[in-house]
Amino acid sequence: MPVDVRIPTMLRAHTGGAATVTVEGATVRDVLEQLVAAHPALAGQIVTPEGGLHRFVNVYLNDDDIRYLDKLDTKVGEGDTVSILPAVAGGS
């Protein structure tokens, strides 16, 4: 089913400037694989060659960080938004 993926500013050079890309997928892993299939320059940037999430990438399913759900196996559904963001030092 179609899912919107929000692309962080630093990766938009690889998506032809697009801030949102719509792809098909049943899990976050599917969605990210389809995203790379559509924009091959993203290969290896979000998911490492070993199949895990890059340590300084946070991926959210709607408002939930997937590391605390089922990680890349987290299921996605119609109308969901997957957001990719860099992990950075927050305020304090």
Binding site: M10, F56, N58, D64, Y68, V88, A89, G90, G91
Partner: protein, 315 residues
């Protein structure tokens, strides 16, 4: 009331208030611990005090030594107050995009402000402080993101206070900045009752820091890694500025005048209340509302306020 020998003895022991009137679930209580009652005005007084006093004990901070830290405001204000009382000169690397009151709050205590680029946010301020500290080995750099005294302040202070005041706690929900509060309180509560769930709330921080070239410039706080944060946290929710401000406004209905990050924390507690059957959710108001009056958070048209909030660091 007792008479205290020093203002620093008033750090901690903050009150908790029942704000369940805001809960969407009648079986889920929401309790708010008011950290704005600390003398420096925020939860960060705790980490500031612990970091300074641990360094005094182990000799890494000596009388009269310059203290340098990066901060978006609250940690800086806590350090500046304590440094003033104890006689240390204090320098703070402060991003350009903080509310004017945060800057003024630092100036009150005589802090020397070293500005950093707004586009880099707290991440950029931290990098600049690390470079300055490397070039001035005679200065003391607390490094709140990597200093174990930061979570320890919450393991020894905030956590036991919550357990004392609300032993029926089922969930702890708090903002994620350095992760000190969540790591310290979370570890303490889970040691007492392993079924306590720990939820982090954060603003869409990565979205606001657009100075990054690639993910390798990203950052996860060392205290989060050392505290096994990926295991300790049960959930992490991102709460945007609009929702944060809406809940900051709703808190006024129950008489709580708190900062914008408290609105985010309460929004997280409300999401939690929505998902559970029965719960006692403890969350934390990191500071009071005073430092955000200039943002118009309570009185301005919501779209204008949200637009302004997207340009400042309010966590």
């Amino acid at each position: 009331m007792a008479v205290y020998a020093s203002i620093l003895d008033l750090i901690g022991n903050t009150p908790m208030v029942d704000v369940s009137a805001l809960s969407p679930n009648p079986r889920a209580r929401i309790l708010l611990k008011l950290e704005g009652q600390n003398p420096g005005g925020s939860v960060k007084d705790r980490a500031a005090k612990w970091m300074i006093e641990e360094a005094e004990k182990d000799g890494s901070l000596r009388p009269g030594q310059v203290i340098l830290e990066s901060s978006s405001g609250n940690t800086g204000i806590g350090l500046a107050m304590i440094a003033r009382v104890k006689g240390y000169p204090f320098k703070v690397v402060l991003p350009d995009n903080v509310s004017v009151e945060r800057r003024q709050g630092l100036e009150v205590w005589g802090a020397e402000i070293i500005p950093s680029d707004a586009a880099g946010g707290s991440n950029g301020a931290m990098r600049k402080a690390q470079q300055l500290a490397a070039g001035h080995p005679d200065w003391w750099f607390p490094y709140q993101y990597g200093n174990p005294a930061n979570p320890k302040a919450h393991y020894e202070g905030t956590g036991p206070e919550i357990w004392r005041d609300c032993p029926e706690v089922t969930h702890f929900v708090a903002g994620l900045g350095t992760s000190g509060t969540l790591m310290g309180v979370g570890r303490f509560l889970k040691e007492r009752n392993p079924s306590v769930q720990v939820w982090a709330v954060e603003p869409p921080v990565g979205e606001m820091v657009d100075g990054l070239k690639n993910f390798d410039e990203g950052f996860v706080p060392p205290i989060f890694i050392e505290s096994d944060g990926y295991e300790l946290l049960d959930r992490k929710k991102v709460v945007g500025p609009r929702e944060s401000i809406e809940w900051t406004r709703r808190l006024i209905d129950v008489g709580v005048f708190a900062g914008i990050s408290t609105g985010a924390a309460v929004a997280g507690a409300v999401k939690c209340a929505d998902e559970v059957d029965t719960a006692a959710i403890v969350t934390l108001a990191a500071d009071g509302g005073w430092k955000y009056l200039s943002t118009g958070a309570w009185t301005g048209p919501i779209d204008d306020v949200v637009a302004r909030a997207q340009k400042i660091i309010y966590f």
